[in-house]
């Protein structure tokens, strides 16, 4: 057989195995992992065939080196978490047992559900970061997405094939609009986007009860204090259970949309003209200006794109999981999105995995609190410590610089 044909065959096989593998695994059909493993083997075989063993070895080592730092950071954070638990009188071993059993096996569907909105908000933060901006108010744009999706979900009487894309589009547009004022102020007056987007987030969150009351929410009612009516059936995302009968009934297709969006953002940043300009502006605005890039335009563009993606997070949450807007929905997806983006070093594909880790820690933390009574706030601390240690490369440069100075002095 000719080489190109074999190569194409291997790639097709890998893809055909990976896609169902991902879907099955996410739906708690854990044997999907075998398909993923198979796809990985196919991919490796294809690489070996085209590039030769030496280069594959180099690539594999580079990937391992890249993954080493996060893994070390996570392990160290878990150790510190264990120390805090031990000091405050909780058994670390049984706690962690419950944490990982709950997060990765028993309630894996909750982990996936937790990860879905995080992928969006983290991508939003990452796009802005690449452009040298800090969209700290992703939480506010999330609220905007939730409001738009709930409103349209209650109003639109269209077949799902029209209704859902329309809701996603409108949500993204509204999220971008929410960032127009901060972006414009940044460009015109230099007002720091950290302050303006944050204040917008507080403002939207404060105003949202007005919307809830206007659409069925009644704080005096006991069964649904502060939640809107349920959105119409045709505006709800399909669930995994419609295809895979054993999947959890709440698990919706939002995670797949999130993964596709992550790949799109990766394409945008690394393969398109706009993405290049965004990264150039973030890396060195002066140099970008010298190259004829409109820094103001790119600043606007990256904040608007960021707002749109963050709003999609809220849209997905409404049409997929909640089907309504809750008053105290502050699940902190905006804040956690920042953490995930930092953990993934703003790499769109890494964001998928980092979000799943975050979702797992949350879901496992709840399971742990229920079963072995270790307070799940410890999860927040572990997350914070992971982030702190993720920046361990700075620790390393600091230590080596110190050693060098000492040697010079001696």
């Amino acid at each position: 057989m000719k080489k190109p044909v074999l190569q194409a065959g291997l790639l097709t096989a890998a893809l055909l195995m990976a896609l169902p593998g991902v879907v099955l695994y996410l739906a708690s059909y854990f044997w999907g992992a075998w398909l993923l493993l198979g796809a990985l083997c196919m991919l490796t075989a294809e690489r070996l065939l085209t590039r030769g063993p030496a280069e594959v070895g180099v690539q594999a080592r580079a990937l391992l080196a890249k993954a080493a730092m996060p893994v070390e950071g996570i392990c160290l954070a878990l150790l510190i978490g264990a120390a805090i638990m031990a000091v405050t009188g909780h058994d670390p071993i049984s706690s962690y047992g419950a944490l990982f059993y709950g997060g990765l096996v028993k309630n894996w569907d909750v982990s996936v559900l937790n990860a879905t909105p995080l992928i969006f908000t983290a991508l939003a933060v990452a796009v802005a970061f690449h452009g040298g901006l800090f969209n700290i108010g992703a939480e506010g744009q999330y609220y905007v997405g939730v409001i738009v999706a709930t409103w349209l979900g209650l109003m639109l009487r269209l077949p799902p094939i029209l209704s859902l894309p329309l809701i996603f589009l409108a949500g993204a547009l509204a999220g971008a609009l929410a960032n127009v004022i901060p972006a414009w102020l940044k460009v015109r007056t230099g007002a720091h986007e950290v302050v303006t987007t944050m204040m917008f987030a507080y403002a939207v969150a404060t105003l949202s009860p007005i919307f809830i009351r206007a659409h069925g929410g009644d704080p005096s009612m006991t069964d649904h204090p502060g939640a809107t009516d349920t959105i119409l059936q045709q505006s709800q995302l399909p669930v995994f259970k419609s295809v895979l009968p054993l999947a959890n009934y709440r698990l919706h297709f939002g995670i797949l949309i999130a993964i596709v969006l992550a790949l799109l953002v990766r394409f945008l940043l690394s393969r398109t003209n706009l993405g290049f300009k965004i990264r150039a502006t973030g890396f060195n605005p002066t140099a970008a200006r010298m190259q004829g890039i409109s820094v103001a335009g790119i600043t606007m563009a990256s904040l608007l794109i960021s707002g749109a993606i963050a709003a999609l997070s809220g849209v997905t949450q409404v049409v997929g999981l909640d089907h309504r807007m809750y008053q105290n929905l502050s699940a902190g997806y905006g804040w956690n999105g920042i953490s995930v983006a930092l953990l993934a070093r703003n790499n769109p594909v890494a964001i998928i995995f980092a979000s799943l880790l975050w979702g797992t820690l949350d879901a496992g933390g709840q399971y742990m609190a229920r079963t072995v009574q270790t307070p799940n706030a410890i999860i927040e601390i572990i997350k914070g410590v992971i982030l702190f240690l993720m920046l361990a490369e700075y620790l390393w440069t600091w230590l080596s610089a110190r050693l060098r100075r000492q040697r010079v002095a001696a």
Binding site: V195, Y202, F388
Partner: protein, 319 residues
């Protein structure tokens, strides 16, 4: 209509303004000092939260609000030390490090609420708070309008006024003030004089920790009697904005914090007077909108310290 206005603009409005602006004033002075030394501090929200928690925890454990205040200061300063280590010693991007500190603070306070009291939400109430130590300055306290607002207040309100005056004096008249300004304007020049930029930046961050610790204590053991999760409600960020709107000057910080306090007090008053029949949320949003307006409108007139937010290494020749 006139009657309605008279109901809102009472002498008590000024008093409420001062009270509500106190935490913002303290934190914005902290932000000012910190940024003047060249460190952007968005961790203040978290530092304030830690201060509020430890003030309530120590105050509840010992029964003395004064020890609680010390606890709040210690908590705020210890937490800001961690931030200083990350931002100055480890050279982590200031904004990134600050964001992480905020996340850590939320986690720590929630966890220790659980460990100490086995409850979520609100900590047990202190029997005696600093509000019980209201002190009227003799003579001045009996002045009309100004008297009750400025000279018949609780301890931390006085502290915030002292902080403003003290820092105005330090920056304008002392060697320390000059060091603070130099480190933020031209760190390399400062280092060339044989002084240590990292040391003065640590000082700046710790000062913001001290002031935010007091601000947090105000929230938990003076303005109320317990700690509530997330009780800072964005005041750390508002203080950051107040500092920017105040042009990185102590008096400016005070005036813009005063403005936010005024908006807040007005909001409460108009809302409770029931004069306007519109949803109360419209009023709650005032301070946030005012912050955006202030940052957008006033930022043009002033200039931030030249080296603020920039990492300093001797190898990197100061930028």
């Amino acid at each position: 209509m006139m009657q309605a206005l008279a109901m809102i603009f009472t002498p008590q409005l000024l008093e409420a303004t001062i009270r509500l602006s106190t935490p913002v004033t303290l934190a914005s002075i902290g932000a000012m000092v910190c940024e003047r030394t060249g460190v952007t501090n968005i961790a203040m929200e978290g530092i304030m939260l830690m201060g509020a928690f430890f003030a309530a925890a120590v105050g509840y454990a010992t029964g003395s609000p004064w020890l609680g205040l010390l606890g709040g200061i210690a908590g705020g300063m210890a937490f800001s030390l961690l931030f200083a280590w990350a931002a100055v010693t480890l050279h982590i991007n200031h904004v990134v490090a600050g964001a992480i500190m905020n996340i850590l603070a939320f986690g720590f306070t929630r966890y220790f609420m659980n460990v100490f009291y086995h409850i979520q939400g609100t900590s047990p109430a202190l029997p005696v708070t600093l509000h019980n130590y209201k002190y009227a300055v003799p003579l001045l306290g009996s002045l009309p309008v100004i008297g009750p607002a400025f000279f018949n207040q609780t301890p931390i309100v006085y502290m915030s006024l002292v902080a403003v005056i003290a820092w105005a004096w330090i920056l304008a008249r002392t060697r320390l003030g000059l060091s603070v300004l130099a480190a933020g304007e031209h760190p390399m020049a400062y280092e060339t004089l044989g002084r240590s930029v990292p040391r003065i930046r640590y000082f700046g961050v710790l000062m913001s920790g001290l002031l935010c610790g007091i601000a947090g204590s105000f929230l938990s053991i003076e303005n109320s009697n317990s700690f509530t999760e997330g009780m800072t409600d964005g005041r750390g960020f508002i203080a950051l904005a107040a500092n920017i709107a105040g042009g990185w000057r102590p008096l400016g910080c005070f005036l813009s914090s005063f403005f936010f306090g005024f908006v807040d007090a007005l909001q409460l008053r108009v809302q409770s007077s029931g004069l306007l029949r519109i949803p109360s949320e419209i009023f709650l949003v005032f301070p946030y909108v005012a912050t955006i307006a202030a940052v957008a409108g006033l930022v043009r007139g002033s200039r931030p310290p030249a080296a603020v937010g920039k990492d300093f290494t001797i190898e990197g020749e100061g930028d």
